[in-house]
Amino acid sequence: MKPELEPLNRREFFGVVAKSAAILGLTSAAEAKGAAQGTANPFAYDISRFQKTDPKLITYEQVTRWPIPHKDAKRLAIGPDDRLYVCADKYINSLSRTGQLGMELTLSGPASCVAVAADGTIFAGLRDHIEVFDAKGVRTARWESPDPKTWFTGLAVGAQDVFAADSVKLVVLRHDRTGKIVGRIGRKDDARNVPGFVVPSPFLDVIIHRDGLLRVNNPGRHQVEAYTFDGDFEAAWGKPTIATEGFCGCCNPIALTMLPDGRIITCEKGIPRVKVYDASGEFESVVAGAESFPENAHACTDLNDCIHGGIDAAVDSEGRIYILDIVTSEVRVMKRKG
């Protein structure tokens, strides 16, 4: 044992200091290196391989795209002589095929869906009621909904009937042209083996197919269901898969429309894509894949939910498809290739 508290001689002391400096240097370099070079993220949610559509399946090409005058659009519809009607914020704008601004109706509150009859009467679905305007834009009626919790998200106008899809009460109300409710379609009813709609977000939609049946999307069950005007469940098709032929995510499709020849166009959110199915539900081709909606695909994560994302589509008499991108408030006009 050293007899006396002698100072550590210089060599020993420097040895200790050098050793500790080396350890410090090594570990700090390791930590800095690890951060800079951006190693792969083990927790990444990777669906990039589903966001690329096989080019052979894409049968439509974009003709043009133009902005719509208001933000926060919800639905679009085709009226007589191919005029386009977009409901956004508290306005309904009528636009020509080329994006010309025509009429603008101001509603009493934010609109969630719109439909236009052959004679030009405009039906605007607000949250809990429907406002009816004549072709000139004068409000002629206001149809209250039977239930305060109603949330209209889809409208379809036939010869004598107006169908309104309610995402909260999970029912499609059938009105006659005077506004009286004459029928309820789609309510869960085992006797008539109606499965019942599952709608986690406000995207229930209804269209009148040329074959005389209604087509309603059932997003929670990933299928499109056909009903008669009186509510009899006829058929259902569609399967939940992220691959191109199915409906992706938790609740798709979110919008339906029909080509003049009866084929059905479906729109999906999460992976924004518009596809063509034949009337019986066979997948036929893709109108536009996720690559053509970069901001929309990216928006759901930025907006931190998909309720305020999504797309809608409408078809004019010549079969040209107008796709409304809700996130960028733009309409793209697509024409069949070749």
Binding site: F43, Y45, V198, S201, C251, G270, T301, N304, D305, C306
Partner: protein, 188 residues
């Protein structure tokens, strides 16, 4: 005390008293300025769900072995879907709770049947490591009811949060200790 009273105030003593007085006034001034602004509240760290980019740093950068950041579920925004994109992997084999179908690496999400066709998803905080895979899945397709929050029964409230330094979305900020959470009440 050792300062002998009769000793005349030596020059160094005088310097010391001067320095002491000056420092005391300086500290008093600084304390005065700061205490007028201080609200007496103390701060704790929290994540702003709107800014979180679900990058997974919360699972690895916290000083605690098992991160104090957990996933939190706003049931009122949830759609109770049968195919929940926060629970199931992007291409689930079948809609069961088997390991191969689950997205969560530590099986921390419990899926319980409520009634046809609804299922409830709840987070087991013992297992959750705060990796935000389920948050990304839910936000990308669904209503965005899953989000990350610092759990203050676990958080040591370090003076500088080790995760906040590396957060790509600049989502960490100090919140008063009485309201330590930034919960997502609406779908926003």
């Amino acid at each position: 005390m050792d300062a002998k009273p009769h000793e005349p105030l030596s020059r160094r003593q005088f310097l010391r008293n001067g320095a002491r007085l000056m420092t005391m006034t300086g500290l008093g001034a600084a304390a005065g300025v700061l205490s007028t602004r201080s609200t007496g509240a103390a701060w704790v760290w929290q994540i702003d769900p709107a800014k979180c980019l679900h990058c997974g740093n919360c699972a690895t950068k916290c000083v605690l072995e098992q991160s104090a950041v957990k996933c939190v579920h706003t049931y009122a925004v949830c759609g109770y879907c049968q195919l929940c994109t926060g629970f199931f992997a992007p291409e689930p084999n079948e809609l069961t709770t088997a390991a191969e179908n689950q997205l969560c690496p530590t099986a921390a999400i419990k899926r319980t049947y409520v009634e046809d066709p609804y299922y409830q998803y709840s987070i087991d905080e013992q297992l959750c490591i705060g990796c935000a895979k389920c948050v990304e899945g839910c936000n990308r397709f669904g209503n965005g009811s899953l989000f990350l929050q610092i759990r203050h029964d676990r958080c040591l409230n370090c003076n500088e949060c080790a995760i906040s330094r590396t957060c790509p979305g600049d989502a960490f900020r100090r919140v008063p200790v009485e309201h330590p959470y930034l919960l997502k009440t609406t779908s926003r």
